[in-house]
Amino acid sequence: MRAQFVLSEIGVGLRRNLTMTFAVVVSVALSLALFGGSLMMSDQVSKMKDYWYDKVNVSIYLCSKGDAETFTKCAKGAVTEAQKTAIKADLDKMSGLVEKVSYESSDEAYKHYQDQFKGTPMASSITPDQLQESYRVKLKDPSKYKVIATAFAGRDGVQSVQDQRGILENLFALLNGMKVAALYVMALMLIIALMLIVNTVRVSAFSRRRETGIMRLVGASSFYIQTPFIMEAAVAGLIGGLLACGLLGAGRYFTVDHGLMLHEKLNLIHFIGWGEVVSKFPLVLAISVLMPAIAASFVLRKYLRV
């Protein structure tokens, strides 16, 4: 088979069917951009999980003087030295579960607070004795938080047990929800793309039925007859795939680096790098070529029988 002959056929076919080709390109581009976007979103979530789960602790806040009125658990007043030693001793006994325990005094908590809200009115609104002393417990397995909670919540001198992971979980649930939503929209777009491809190939096969009829009669193989149509769909798909890659790159560029500048506004979040963006390209491109090609060959099996 001569490549030049096939290539010219593809060019003619795509131009003859320009509006349909355009529709295919756009729908493939959008569906695959959503697909790549949701892949990037999962990367983002797991990257944040890796980063934050390493940092988060279970905090056991101890009663301070000021808590006596607001927390019934602290009605007996501030935590005593004896209670503190008992808590520390119990934590040390749970060495199978606990990786590290550190103590944060009110003064240290105050210092952290001041650092975090430097220059805002919040900084001067609080005094050291309003902040609780606490034990910061780092767990070997962050999901075993319940064990610590049941063991220490309600104990004398303990104001509350807080799992910082819970706060993050809400954020991750939100991001995951966005990912799932993107996948649903993608599935819908993909169906539209497939239907457009099927229709485009059908129109294309119909408009060239004279040629294909003659090809059949002189004994061209069905592979030879079908290849231009399949390639046509694949080329349109590839253009869509390249656009999708462009959209993914632009998406990261305008949300993270420039435009929205999220990397400056949300400097606590570690965003995925360009490597992770580019690593989605091969899969996106492969799908963009294979999906239309396979769809086309199924259609042609019906419309270009030997």
């Binding site: 001569r2 002959f5 059949r216 009669l217 002189v218 030997v306």
Partner: protein, 229 residues
């Protein structure tokens, strides 16, 4: 070359079969006229040989092969040894005469050098030497049919199937086409021609196969057209 053994063909949703219990044999080098009124089964007969349809009952052998047992991917190979010509020429309007003929060779992957040699040769044979670069629209009906015959013959098929090749042509032009088909037949190619043209059949005195309502009613060597329509 071609053998029909008790061949019947019925199409779905049609009460009467298109062909009923046809048995006949066509030898290499024969010239056959296939006659019969419209709907007598001529087209089905030809479609069975080209394996565009399969027989409902019985077996069709073409070039020694049982078409019922031939797998789909081998069909194109078989068709390369058959040439086909139609009443409506079926040329590609946006290709020149030479390109139309070359198309039949390109799509089966013949090398370019061979095509460049074969196309002028076959155009000379059909009497269109010098008209290589004309478009089909610029040619008369007879000339267009010659292009179609050149395309059917360029791959030197064993069998040429012509479905009313003179149906759209005036009598004088038809005679020219018949002379051409006769010449092709003399090169050893078997020719099967379906026709309604009484004059041609009577003149040529070749074997005549007549179908009526799907039945073989006459198979006569050196026959005449024979029935009034």
């Amino acid at each position: 070359m071609i053998r029909f053994d008790n061949v019947s063909k019925s199409y779905p949703r049609q009460s009467h079969p298109a062909l009923r219990d046809i048995s006949l044999e066509i030898e290499k080098g024969e010239f056959i006229f296939l006659v019969g009124s419209s709907g007598s089964g001529k087209s089905t007969f030809m479609r069975l040989i080209l394996r565009e349809e399969r027989a409902s009952h019985g077996t069709v052998h073409v070039l020694g092969k049982d078409l019922a047992r031939m797998s789909n991917w081998k069909v194109p190979q078989m068709r390369r040894q058959l040439g086909t010509v139609f009443q409506d020429f079926r040329l590609l309007p946006n290709k020149t005469v030479a390109e139309n003929v070359a198309f039949a060779q390109e799509v089966i992957g013949k090398p370019k050098g061979e095509i460049r040699k074969a196309v002028p040769q076959v155009l000379d044979l059909v009497g269109l030497g010098g008209k290589e670069d004309r478009m089909p629209g610029e040619l008369s009906g007879g000339e267009q049919q010659r292009v179609a015959i050149a395309r059917a013959f360029v791959n030197r098929p064993m069998l040429l199937i012509a479905d009313e090749p003179t149906g759209n042509l005036d009598p004088q032009t038809s005679v020219g086409i018949m002379k051409l088909l006769d010449r092709i037949n003399r090169t050893g190619t078997t020719v099967i021609m379906a026709t309604h043209d009484q004059q041609i059949v009577d003149q040529m005195r070749k074997r005549v196969i007549e179908l009526e309502k799907g039945r073989l009613v006459r198979d006569q060597s050196r026959g005449v057209y024979g029935y009034q329509h």
